[in-house]
Each structure stands twice: as structure tokens, then as C-alpha cells.
């Protein structure tokens, strides 16, 4: 029996279903105060008056905080461009200007409403085109003087560009000359809001020296260092305790409200809680960046892609956040999956007067894949070749290298994925009929390599405790993945293992739930800890059993003699004995993924250099378009995904179904458009999340190629299923209607017009 495999329920399901689980917003302390922020009502301008005198005298108010009381220095994830509170200028709608701390949220809000704020409004720089115009106002005139994260290598930035990546290996123009056809496409995509159920919150207290923060956050250690950085104190003065998280999808990787709760706590000496309302959350969260993408490729009559040029302008919003890192993502997608010949890449993270954008599941990949795979269809069309045949002809094989110089040792899996999709949904039969269509897309994705750790301890009752700062973001990575791996290491059932909530005071470093890393990296850390712990456990058991440690094995919660299973001692007895012999049976393990080789000269500004432990994905969708309103119905969705090995099939299937749903939202309904720098959709009522009634049951094909350096062979699985979704659906809609879909969400009006045109033509 092993705890790795099917039919292991997650440990948090019952509490979540019954409403017993406490999330960050549920956290309470006696005597706790509540804060509200005054956020900028306009996208850009100069603050001419900020009068908080009335606010201070509102009943129940304990503190009013503005830039005057806050640290002066700027902070940031990698580029320190963000002030604590806006003071002279405001750069986006929703930017915090002041905070009131009061006995109740209502009192705090009433006091916020009394603040005298006058702003001389400026015409906002609302998109990348305006921002890159030669005479554009600079959002950050002092950009050159900003500090960057110690240890980060510097990168090109200037004007309204917070970061530029360029890769020009030479030979691109010559290669274009060998092409028979050249196709150029431009794509635009809007922002996507993570729309987790639990709005952002933070609760902080202060004891005169250290701050304690209670959060629901994907990355407690990031909160620790970022709050420390924002306050200008050392990391160890901050303690971060994690609680159940109502979804994150990348939006809870950087600071949200934590620094504000922290300063409120130290100024009042009381515990302070701050919770976003939904509109506040929607307008201020770092959503997936909007972008404009240009792809140009040369192709031969025989169907070979011979040259490519790719340009991507990412709207990073008013402060850079992590979009500076994201400019590297094209290096793993533009010349992967298909061989494309010499390729030139430019990617820019651009400042605009909009909320800072940032990480969202499948960072930048969703739209890069959309652009590339729409373009792939267009290339096939240009030479009159079948779209699937064209893909197979240019498909990567094991040993091919990506643009960063990293070799994909197992890229042949792509071929297998195409074949397996073909078995269930034969291309020649798919999407046939009036206003029906089929689309196909493929991608690779990474497993985030950053470090993690776990401490295992055998409890006196023989169960196993896992203490780790890894976070359960809802995917089951901790409550299934890590827990099952730990159980399997000791021959226990998963029910005999518990995993603690994160606490940065007592646990080793963990790089948070991002890039599908938790099961893989923390699973490896668990194995490393188990490797240290087992010899000690066997040593003690050997004394109890009178057998050599080497002759012992673990099974069903006991240690037994391999050749004489009647001689056993329970783990409980072993653990209790250990206590008497000078200490608990515990050990700590850590792991980070060794980085594959890459070519540091492949690009300038490559801050995020590799795609470690790559996985391979092929998606197919069939759609039907309504002739009367242009609405797209996805009638069939097939995913072939390589995962290394499934630790919990329910978990993997759930992540794929959910990723496809979220990708469908991006393709068909969601999107934050701005008008004059302000989001037009400002509530979940108008935002357009996908609904259960509109999402088909996804047909899932799992490919297992166990990863040698992975826990039981597991690779990352949860992030990537969102990546190809918009691409396949757009390709299917184009197939069904003749509409050349170049923007998201797919516009039914455009689809209707294309249908008319095809009918007339």
C-alpha cells in the first residue's frame, strides 16, 4: 500500500465544505482595530491638498497615516520604484494615499471620507503606445536612481520602460530571405483579474520590536522580506503566519495590504486588520498584464518555419512589480515546441497610469501561446497546409534547444501528446459542420525551481507531523501532494500525517506556491528529511526489536523485521522511546531544483533564465458558433498533459479542469479594459467569470514520464493547463467562422460580421 496514488482525500476538504476553515479575513484578535485606505480616485495627477485634520477627530479613530508618517524610501520586488503612500503624485487609480485606523471598519471609512484630498488631474498615460511615444510624460523621472534587489544583475531600462529584454542571435534577416512566404500578425489582450473568492486582507500586531502578520498568502517568506524592506527593518523582525487561503492564482505572491497593517500596528500599538472590498481588490490587484504582441515568421512552401521576429509590449502599470521578470518568458515559448529558425525577440515592461500588473497563473504564457498558435494556424493557411500536419512537421524533438540555449532532453513527449489526442479526437473528424470548428495548440511549461524545506517529526502517537512554510493555495499541493509523499515515505496512510500552517518564525524557507513547485520541490524536501530521519528511527527500533537497523522496514505504522514480520514495534513506541533518549524524532530537509544549463549571452535582460523540469501539453477544442448572436460554445475540450507522475489523480484532474475553465474565461468573457486609466468593469457582476453551465467536462489524457529527480517522479502540474486554452479556442473559432481572431476576449460582434462576410463571399 502506498499513500501515493488515487483515492486519497484532501485533509482540508471537510473543514472548507462545512465552513469551519478560518481564512485570513476570518482572523480575529481581542481589541483588534480596523483600517481603511484612502485610494487615489484618479489615474494620474499631482496632489495639491491632503488634509487629514478632520479625520483624526472622527470618533473611534486611533491613527491617520500618510506618507509623512511612513518610510520615505521606495520598495519593490526587484526594482524599488514603489512609495509606501503616494504623496506628491498619484500614478494609478486605487493607489494608497492615506490610511485611517479606527475601532470599527465603518468608523475608519467615515474618517477616510472626511479627508480633504485635491488632485490636479493629468491626462493619464493609459496604454503602452502613449507611454512609448517620444514626448511621453515619464512616470518615473528618477528611474535611473532607483535601487534594485541586492544580488539581481542589472538590466536595461529607460524612459517609461521598466525592463527590456532583447535577443538577437544574428542571421535572422538572412534567414527571412530564404522564406517563400512571410506572415505578420499583431495581437492584443486585456488584463485578467485573478478573482479569488477571498479578498485580500492583512492583520498585524507589534510588540515594540517585532511585527506579527496574519495573512492568507501564497508566499509568507516573501511577505516577511517585503514588509521588512518597506518598513526599512531587517527580516527577522517580521513574523508571518499563514491561514487558509481563498485562492491566489499569483495575486498573493507580492505585497498586498501587509505593509499597511504593519505600520498601523506599530503606530497604534494595537492589532490592526485591513480588508479590501471587492471593487478595491479588483482595481488594485496586480492582474495579468495586458499586452500587444507582434509575430512575424518566414515559412517555406514545404512547410518549414525558417525565421521569426517577436515583439511583446507588456503593460506593467504604474510600478514594475514582477513584469520585469516576465519579459523573459518569450525566451521559453517563441522558439520552443516548434522549430522556428533564427529568432529575434524584444519584450518590454512598460509603465502606464494603471494599477501595477503582475503574476497570474501561466504568467504571460497564456497570451504568448495565444499569439504564437494563432500565428501558427495563419502560417499553415498561408502555404495551404493542414494545420496539424504543419505543426508536426516543425515539432521539437528531444535534444532541441530553446532560445535561451536550454536543451529540452525529452521534447519527444510532444509527439506522444499529439498522438494521444489524435486517438481520442481524430483530426479528420473533429469540428465538422456548419459554424463548427476545431483548434489545436501546444506548449511547454516549467516547474518553478526555487527552494523549499520541510521538517518531519514522528509524533508520540505514531503519526507524522510535517512542518513547512509551503502554502496550500487550494490546489491540494500541500493537503494532498506533500502530505501523501510524506505518508508514503513512512508507509503510513495519508490520514496519519498532518501538515502545519506556515509560520516564518519556526519553519525553514519556502518560496511559496508558484509555478507548480510545491508538490515537486517540497516533496523532494520531505524525501530529504525522511532520508535523515529513517536511520535514526531504525536505530531506536533496532534496540527495541533486537535486530540490525539494516534488517528493518516500515509498514502500516510500525517498524518490522524484514524477514520476520511478526517482530514489530509501533512508530508510537519508537517515538516515545526517542523522547526518553534525548530528543524527538525529527529532521529537516531542503531542496531546490538544479538549474539546467543555459546560454547567458542568449539575451540581454534575461532575469529569469531557465524553464526547469519542463512539462509538455497539447490541447484541442471543438466549438460551435451561434449564427444569431455570435456566441461561442465550447462543445469538446481535450487535454494531453505530461505530469511526470500523478501523486493524486483527483488533484491533477481538478487542476486541469479548473485551468481550462479559467482559460475559457480569458478567451471568451473576462478582461479588464481601461477608459481614461480606469477599469470599466469594476465588480464581479460585470467582470464575466466562467460559469459551470458554460464549461464542458474536460477530457483528460495524462502522460506519465516519471522525473528522476522528482518525488515519486512528480513534476509540476497545476499551473500550465491554463496556458494553451485561449489559443485553441481562438483557433477553433477562426476555423468555424473565418474570423481572424487577434484579440481577447473573443468578440461575438466580430464573429458575427465574419460569418456574414463568409456567407456573402
Amino acid at each position: 500500500m502506498t499513500a501515493v496514488g488515487p483515492d486519497t482525500p484532501r485533509s482540508d476538504a471537510d473543514a472548507k465544505v462545512r465552513g469551519l476553515a478560518n481564512y485570513g479575513v476570518d482572523y480575529r484578535e481581542a481589541g483588534m482595530l480596523h483600517a481603511r485606505l484612502l485610494r487615489s480616485p484618479v489615474a494620474a495627477g499631482r496632489v495639491t491638498r491632503l488634509d487629514v485634520s478632520t479625520a483624526r477627530s472622527v470618533p473611534g479613530v486611533h491613527a491617520v497615516v500618510t506618507a509623512e508618517q511612513a518610510p520615505e524610501h521606495r520598495n519593490g520586488l526587484v526594482l524599488f520604484d514603489t512609495p509606501f503612500f503616494a504623496s506628491d503624485t498619484v500614478l494609478y487609480e486605487g493607489e494608497p494615499i492615506a490610511m485611517v485606523v479606527a475601532d470599527t471598519p465603518r468608523q475608519a471609512q467615515s474618517a477616510v471620507d472626511t479627508i480633504g484630498l485635491e488632485i490636479e488631474e493629468w491626462e493619464p498615460i493609459s496604454n503602452v503606445t502613449e507611454a512609448l511615444a517620444p514626448d511621453a510624460r515619464l512616470l518615473h523621472p528618477d528611474l535611473d536612481s532607483y535601487q534594485i534587489l541586492p544580488g539581481a544583475s542589472s538590466w536595461p531600462k529607460s524612459g517609461n520602460c521598466g525592463g527590456v529584454l532583447t535577443s538577437d542571435p544574428g542571421g535572422v534577416d538572412e534567414a527571412f530571405e530564404t522564406a517563400d512566404f512571410i506572415v505578420e500578425d499583431t495581437f492584443t489582450v486585456p488584463r485578467q483579474y485573478q478573482a479569488y473568492l477571498e479578498p485580500k486582507s492583512a492583520t498585524a500586531s507589534y510588540d515594540g520590536w517585532r511585527w506579527t502578520l496574519h495573512v492568507s498568502h501564497q508566499f509568507p517568506f516573501q511577505v516577511r522580506s517585503r514588509v521588512a524592506q518597506a518598513l526599512g527593518v531587517t527580516d527577522s523582525r517580521i513574523r508571518v503566519v499563514g491561514h487558509h487561503m481563498g485562492g491566489g492564482f499569483g495575486a498573493r505572491l507580492d505585497l498586498g495590504l501587509e505593509q499597511y497593517a504593519a505600520i498601523g500596528a506599530s503606530l497604534t500599538g494595537r492589532t490592526v486588520q485591513l480588508v479590501n472590498d471587492r471593487t478595491e481588490d479588483l482595481i488594485s490587484t496586480m492582474s495579468r498584464e495586458n499586452a500587444t504582441i507582434k509575430v512575424r515568421s518566414g515559412v517555406t512552401k514545404e512547410g518549414r518555419i525558417v525565421a521569426r521576429e517577436f515583439e511583446c509590449l507588456m503593460d506593467g502599470g504604474a510600478y514594475a512589480g514582477d513584469t520585469v521578470y516576465l519579459t523573459s518568458i518569450p525566451m521559453f515559448m517563441v522558439g520552443s515546441v516548434y522549430r522556428v529558425g533564427p529568432t529575434r525577440v524584444t519584450a518590454k515592461s512598460v509603465y502606464t497610469n494603471t494599477a501595477p500588473s503582475g503574476a497570474f497563473r501561466g504568467v504571460s504564457g497564456t497570451y504568448i501561446c495565444f499569439a504564437l498558435e494563432r500565428h501558427t494556424d495563419r502560417l499553415a493557411e498561408a502555404i495551404g497546409m493542414d494545420r496539424r500536419e504543419f505543426r508536426l512537421r516543425n515539432l521539437f524533438e528531444s535534444g532541441d534547444s530553446m532560445l535561451n540555449g536550454q536543451t529540452l532532453e525529452d521534447a519527444d513527449i510532444l509527439r506522444e501528446a499529439f498522438d494521444r489526442v489524435e486517438e481520442v479526437a481524430p483530426w479528420s473528424e473533429a469540428g465538422k459542420g456548419s459554424l463548427k470548428g476545431v483548434g489545436l495548440a501546444a506548449t511547454i511549461w516549467l516547474t518553478n525551481p526555487l527552494a523549499g524545506s520541510a521538517t518531519l517529526s514522528i509524533q508520540q502517537d505514531g503519526s507524522l507531523g510535517v512542518s513547512t512554510a509551503a502554502t496550500e493555495n487550494g490546489s491540494g499541493a500541500v493537503t494532498m501532494g506533500v502530505r501523501q509523499i510524506a505518508a508514503a515515505q513512512f508507509g503510513l496512510a495519508a490520514e496519519q500525517v498532518f501538515v502545519t500552517a506556515p509560520d516564518t518564525d519556526t519553519q525553514g524557507y519556502d518560496a511559496g506556491s508558484q509555478g507548480s513547485r510545491t508538490t515537486h520541490v517540497v516533496g523532494m524536501a520531505v524525501q530529504a528529511a525522511a532520508k535523515q530521519l529513517k536511520p535514526r528511527l531504525f536505530n531506536i527500533a533496532s534496540g527495541l526489536l533486537g535486530a540490525l537497523p539494516d534488517d528493518l522496514e516500515l509498514s502500516g505504522g510500525s517498524v518490522c523485521v524484514r524477514d520476520d514480520p511478526s517482530r514489530t514495534v509501533s512508530l508510537a513506541t519508537v517515538a516515545r522511546t526517542a523522547f526518553g533518549l534525548g530528543g524527538p524524532l525529527s529532521a529537516t530537509g531542503a531542496y531546490n531544483v538544479p538549474l539546467p544549463k543555459w546560454d547567458p549571452d542568449s539575451a540581454e535582460g534575461l532575469l529569469f533564465p531557465v524553464f526547469p523540469v519542463p512539462t509538455y501539453h497539447v490541447h484541442l477544442a471543438e466549438v460551435e458558433v451561434d449564427p444569431d448572436d455570435g456566441a461561442v460554445r465550447v462543445t469538446r475540450y481535450v487535454v494531453a498533459q505530461e505530469v511526470g507522475r500523478m501523486i493524486n489523480p483527483d488533484g491533477v484532474y481538478g487542476q486541469i479542469q479548473g485551468g481550462v475553465a479559467q482559460g475559457m474565461g480569458y478567451a471568451l468573457w473576462e478582461g479588464l479594459e481601461t477608459k481614461d486609466g480606469r477599469y470599466t468593469r469594476r465588480t464581479l457582476e460585470s467582470y464575466g467569470l466562467p460559469l459551470a453551465v458554460d464549461v464542458p467536462d474536460v477530457e483528460i489524457i495524462i502522460l506519465e514520464h516519471p522525473c528522476e529527480a522528482g518525488p515519486y517522479g512528480a513534476k509540476g502540474a497545476a499551473e500550465p493547463p491554463i496556458v494553451p486554452v485561449a489559443a485553441v479556442i481562438a483557433n477553433a473559432v477562426s476555423d468555424a467562422t473565418g474570423a481572424n481572431i487577434t484579440s481577447l476576449p473573443i468578440d461575438p460582434e466580430e464573429v458575427l460580421l465574419a460569418i456574414d462576410k463568409r456567407r456573402e463571399g
Binding site: D628, D629, L668, W669, S686, G688, P690, L691, V693, E749
Partner: protein, 286 residues
């Protein structure tokens, strides 16, 4: 702020006559509570919860008239056999209001009295030539549907009165009706366009044609010119094309975050075509 919960119509009217200022009728609350939360209605306003007045809910058929109590929920409209048989467009419209949760508590009275330009029950009401029965100064008064909607969130319901019920004559034999709604998703959508169509035949030809739309003007409205183009026809392509053309001229849609005016215009014409297609099948017009 006060919360009053009368159990009879008289009690409700008594409360209303005592305090005409700031007493808001509350039925299912799916509009009122959101409008309070978003500041469209003052939070200080007192509430008169009429949900306890049992007389005001349910569907009754008598003397060739179908009476729909103002408190009838969308769920009940969707499932009621009389509505399903005789007024399917009401059932279809109710089935598109929000999601199941909204339908469980939201009422037809609330939908009509809220008078949103996008109210889904308004087009069926208009197409059925229904009558709204309101409490009146001295006993119930009748307001024809086509005089009820005055503007966005403005109705002919006098201040201090409540809507009691809706009366709809049972449609003649050989009548087909339907409500067609376009939203981006299959539920939880404010209509981009909603169209109620009702056709009655006599001698194989359309004797009466009634078309009503929401979300394409400040108020839900009848498309009188388009209707006229279909009377006497067999809903043939020629007549329908003329009607579709006229329908697009009769409306006044706007661009907003949900859709462009041009898309809404296209939709009205196409929905009309779809309704005609479905009606020809339903009425077995050769």
C-alpha cells in the same frame, strides 16, 4: 432605519400612507439590497418587507384571465404549469434571470417595479398586452403594460402604492410566443438584448404580431412598426426582412461595458429572424 413586515395588503398600505417619505417596498430584495450596498439607495431608508403577504404570490387562472401575484418568484414562474402552457415566454424569461439563487427569491413584481431597461420580464409583459393591478387610492386600479414603464427606474406606479398582480388574458388558440435573450454567458447576465415575440394565426396568416424588447432603449418597448410588417404575412423571409429592418430603426441602443450599440442593433434584427423561424416551426406554417 426601520424594518416593517406587514402580513396583509391593508397593513402594508397603512404603513405606506403614514410615512410616504423614505419607506422602500422590499420583496425579494435582489435589486433593493444591491442598490443600498452600492449607494444608489440611501441606507437610512426604512424597509417595508411585503414577502410575508401570502395573497400576493402564485398564479391563478379564472375566466380566461391568468393572474400572476406580484410576489411570484422567478422560480415559480419557471415551473408553473399554467405559465408553461399558456405564457411560455414568461417562464422562459424567468428562467434567464440571474441564476437559481436569484430566481428563488427574486419576484416578477420586483423585476417590473424596479424598471431596469434590461428587466427580463418586461418584454413578455408588453408582448402579452398585460395589465398591472396596483393598490390604488380607493381600491385596485389597472394600468396597461404599455403605459407602465416611464424611464430608467421610473414607472407609472403612484407613490405609496404597491403592485398587487399582473393580469394576462389567455392567448387565443394558434398562438406562439417566446422570449429570446442574449447575454455573454448562459446565466448571470444582464440582457444585451431580450426579445419577446408572440404571433397568433388566423387562416394560416399572422393575425396579431407582438414584439417587445429590453436593453435597447431607456425603457423596454414594443416594436410597433416591425409588428405591422408581419401582420397578414406567413412570417416569410420578405416580411421578416422588412420587420427586422424596421426593428433596428425603432430602437435606441447605447454603447456600454457590456456591448456596443452596433452589436445590439444587429442582435435585435437577428433575434427577430430567429423568432420567426421558430414560430414557423411551432405553428407549422408551411
Amino acid at each position: 432605519m426601520q424594518f416593517l413586515a406587514p402580513m396583509t395588503v391593508d397593513e402594508a398600505l397603512g404603513a405606506l400612507s403614514e410615512r410616504e417619505d423614505g419607506l422602500r417596498v422590499l420583496a425579494g430584495g435582489t435589486d433593493v439590497m444591491i442598490q443600498r450596498m452600492t449607494g444608489q439607495l440611501p441606507r437610512s431608508e426604512s424597509l417595508l418587507y411585503i414577502g410575508g403577504i401570502t395573497d400576493l404570490s402564485g398564479v391563478h387562472l379564472s375566466d380566461g384571465t391568468i393572474c400572476i401575484g406580484a410576489l411570484t418568484t422567478h422560480h415559480d414562474l419557471r415551473c408553473n404549469p399554467v405559465i408553461g402552457t399558456d405564457l411560455p415566454s414568461f417562464a422562459e424569461a424567468a428562467a434567464t434571470v440571474g441564476g437559481w439563487q436569484t430566481q428563488a427569491v427574486g419576484t416578477i413584481g420586483g423585476n417590473l417595479c424596479n424598471a431596469s431597461p434590461a428587466a427580463d420580464l418586461a418584454p413578455p409583459l408588453l408582448a402579452a398586452d398585460a395589465t398591472l393591478v396596483v393598490s390604488g387610492e380607493d381600491g385596485p386600479q389597472r394600468i396597461p403594460a404599455n403605459r407602465f414603464f416611464l424611464g430608467r427606474r421610473r414607472t407609472a406606479l403612484p407613490v405609496g402604492q404597491i403592485l398587487l398582480k399582473i393580469e394576462v388574458p389567455v392567448p387565443p388558440a394558434a398562438t406562439w410566443e417566446s422570449y429570446l435573450k442574449v447575454g455573454r454567458r448562459s446565466a448571470m447576465e444582464v440582457a444585451l438584448v431580450g426579445l419577446a415575440a408572440r404571433f397568433s394565426l388566423a387562416g394560416g396568416l399572422v393575425e396579431t404580431a407582438r414584439l417587445a424588447v429590453c436593453s435597447v432603449a431607456p425603457v423596454p418597448l414594443r416594436l410597433a412598426h416591425a409588428e405591422a410588417a408581419l401582420v397578414g404575412s406567413t412570417l416569410d423571409q420578405g416580411a421578416v426582412a422588412i420587420a427586422a429592418q424596421r426593428s433596428m430603426e425603432e430602437i435606441d441602443p447605447i454603447d456600454d461595458q457590456r456591448a456596443t450599440a452596433s452589436y445590439r442593433r444587429m442582435l435585435v434584427g437577428r433575434l427577430l429572424g430567429k423568432a420567426a423561424r421558430l414560430a414557423r416551426e411551432g405553428l407549422e406554417i408551411q
